[in-house]
């Protein structure tokens, strides 16, 4: 066996953008497959639509900016944005909303600020929030997980509904769709029901909603793999989840009948996806280690606050966008001391 000796420096090769992005894409696959398994082909159609339109818009803007198109498209960042967006939106969202979201995310949020590396906000989450604010009804109409569905929507029916708005015969939209577990929890709590009462609904699994918690688990696997591969640092996800669970535990201990237990928050909505894939976006997150801890924890706390007392059911997108705004300031105040400069600690 040959053991070649390389000349110094003996450091690893720095990660390249396309390599990092490819790792994110691979890490997203298990969770995405779980989504398809539980919520049907709509997720797949969303994924194709989002990736197609994101790449097309990116190419269009790069062309307008008179830059070489292929290298920018090859860095896969548009694909990652599209995938994150596609797994966040409901499976039955009309096709033009998907395209609109990607147009906003890629053109306005990413390229208008100068493209990858310059955008202060996470494009996928900005696109999601744009749609959530503009079309709240469509954006909260999720399909029930497969185990609970009265009617399994076939691929043909999904495509038909997304592109023409026709429903499978004998069904209304309300019969097919269902509120997300977070939404159910929140509306029932508003009706002054107790948690134990709400939990009698067949919608619930062991921790969060039936189906949802497993999607969360698969995303968690991808996320841990990314931490292991050093694609992302552990600081942001850990601090995010600690902030969320910490807040949830505090209020749950205070009154366990009006505040859901911590694991519910962990495995509902976009918490896991947000912690590992969205908050860790290297462009819009903090870069110092200390800053990442503050940034992640604040997002976790904000998620809990907005979920519990805010106006929208899930809060990951809002919390991430808010902290995107704060990230440069946090970085400024947490800069590590340069070796040989500044005050010595005695």
């Amino acid at each position: 066996m040959e053991f070649p000796t390389h000349s110094s420096p003996h450091t690893g090769r720095p990660n390249r953008v396309d390599k990092v992005m490819l790792q994110v894409v691979l890490a997203l696959i298990p969770g995405t497959l779980a989504l398809v398994f539980y919520f049907g082909y709509g997720v797949l159609v969303n994924l194709l639509l989002a990736i197609g339109s994101a790449v097309a818009f990116e190419a269009l803007v790069i062309k307008l900016r008179k830059r070489p198109v292929t290298p920018v498209l090859m860095d896969l960042s548009a694909v990652v944005t599209a995938m994150l967006f596609a797994v966040a939106i409901p499976p039955l969202l009309p096709w033009w909303m998907v395209v609109l979201g990607m147009a906003f995310g890629i053109i306005m949020v990413k390229q208008m600020y100068g493209g990858l590396g310059y955008n202060p906000f996470n494009p996928a989450m900005a696109a999601y929030v744009l749609l959530l604010i503009s079309y709240p009804v469509e954006m909260t109409a999720w399909l029930p997980p497969a185990a609970l569905a009265e009617h399994h929507v076939s691929l043909r029916e999904v495509v038909l509904f997304k592109f023409t708005g026709t429903l499978p015969d004998d069904y209304t939209l309300d019969a097919i769709t269902m509120a997300t577990p977070l939404d159910v929890m929140r509306t029932n709590l508003d009706l002054n029901m107790m948690i134990s009462e709400i939990r009698t609904n067949p919608l619930w699994g062991d921790f969060g909603g039936l189906g949802w918690e497993w999607v969360g688990n698969w995303f968690l696997m991808g996320g841990i793999w990314m931490v292991y591969k050093r694609t992302i640092t552990w600081q942001i996800p850990l601090a995010f989840l600690a902030g969320l669970v910490g807040m949830a535990t505090l209020f749950w201990l205070f009154d366990s009948e009006s505040f859901p237990f911590p694991l519910f928050h962990l495995f509902s909505g976009g918490a896991i996806l947000g912690a590992f894939f969205i908050a860790t976006d290297p462009v819009t997150a903090c870069t110092t280690r200390m800053g990442q801890l503050i940034y992640g924890a604040t997002i976790g706390i904000l998620v809990y606050v907005i979920r519990t007392w805010g106006g929208y059911p899930d809060a990951v997108a809002f919390a991430v966008l808010l902290m995107n705004m704060a990230a440069p300031t946090i970085d400024y105040y947490t800069r590590p001391r340069t070796y040989g400069h500044g005050e010595m600690k005695s």
Binding site: L100, M108, L130, I133, S134, Y135, P136
Partner: protein
């Protein structure tokens, strides 16, 4: 009178009231130094009230009226106000006109007044008005101040209308919605509506104002750039031509 401030600048030479300088004033107010798109002044009412074109028009006209009146008055009293107290005096002048306009709108455009609400009294705090009083009217004669007030006000109004029209068109698929508030019942036919338009609620909400204003500034910069390129191209053409003949 002690300490009467000298008034430099072209404004004091009454004979210089040529067409050219008036045209420059108008072009500055409407385009080159547009208070909303270039100076970015008065953004609070601009962003808050521009959710429909008619609201924008109402607030824009009110602002223009105040601007013309305050600019003229400040210009007339500019030689009698000591510099130490000029700002309080200007603010008092502006506030009196705003009060008059507010009462007038309440009487004649009551519905519109109810919609615009707090933003009519808040015209007092519009930086554009005190800005023009301090930077222009206090140094220029009546005619120039009046022209400046009118062109700056109309420039501001146009931005309000365009932004308002853009926002209501994207947001709810209408144009000149509630036109009767401004022009009476006869004008309700002015309202255009796109049928079956789903609308993008965000355009009506505050973020839409920021995004819309950003896009307007982008369009203005783009037009300016194109104009500059064309001018450069034509002047170099002239130079070449003269070079050949010379």
């Amino acid at each position: 009178m002690i300490g009467k401030p000298p008034h430099p600048g072209p404004g004091n030479r009454d004979s210089s009231m040529s067409d050219n300088s008036t045209r420059t004033l108008i072009m500055d107010g409407l385009w080159h130094n547009n208070q909303a798109l270039v100076a970015l002044l008065g953004l609070c009412p601009l962003l808050a009230v521009s959710n429909t074109a008619i609201n924008g028009l109402g607030l824009g006209l009110a602002t223009t009226a105040v601007l013309v009146a305050s600019n003229s008055t400040v210009s007339l009293i500019r030689n009698f106000v000591r510099p130490e107290v000029r700002l309080p005096v200007f603010v008092m002048v502006i506030a009196s006109f705003v009060t008059a306009i507010e009462l007038g709108m309440n009487a004649y455009f009551h519905e519109l007044h109810k919609i615009l609400g707090i933003f009519i009294p808040l015209i007092v705090t519009n930086c554009t008005i005190i800005g023009r009083a301090e930077a222009f009217a206090s140094k220029n004669n009546l005619w120039r101040s009046l022209v400046d007030g009118l062109s700056v006000g109309i420039g501001f109004t146009l931005v309000l209308i365009v932004l308002g029209g853009f926002r209501e068109l994207i947001g709810q698929g209408t144009l000149f919605d509630q036109a009767h508030l401004m022009f009476g019942e006869a004008a309700s036919g002015m309202t255009l509506k796109i049928e079956d338009f789903p609308g993008m609620l965000i355009a009506i909400l505050p973020p839409g104002a920021f995004i819309g204003l950003g896009l307007l500034i982008m369009v203005k910069n783009l037009i300016d750039k194109r104009l500059a390129e064309r001018r450069a191209a034509s002047s170099s053409y002239v130079e070449e031509a003269t070079g050949v003949t010379g």
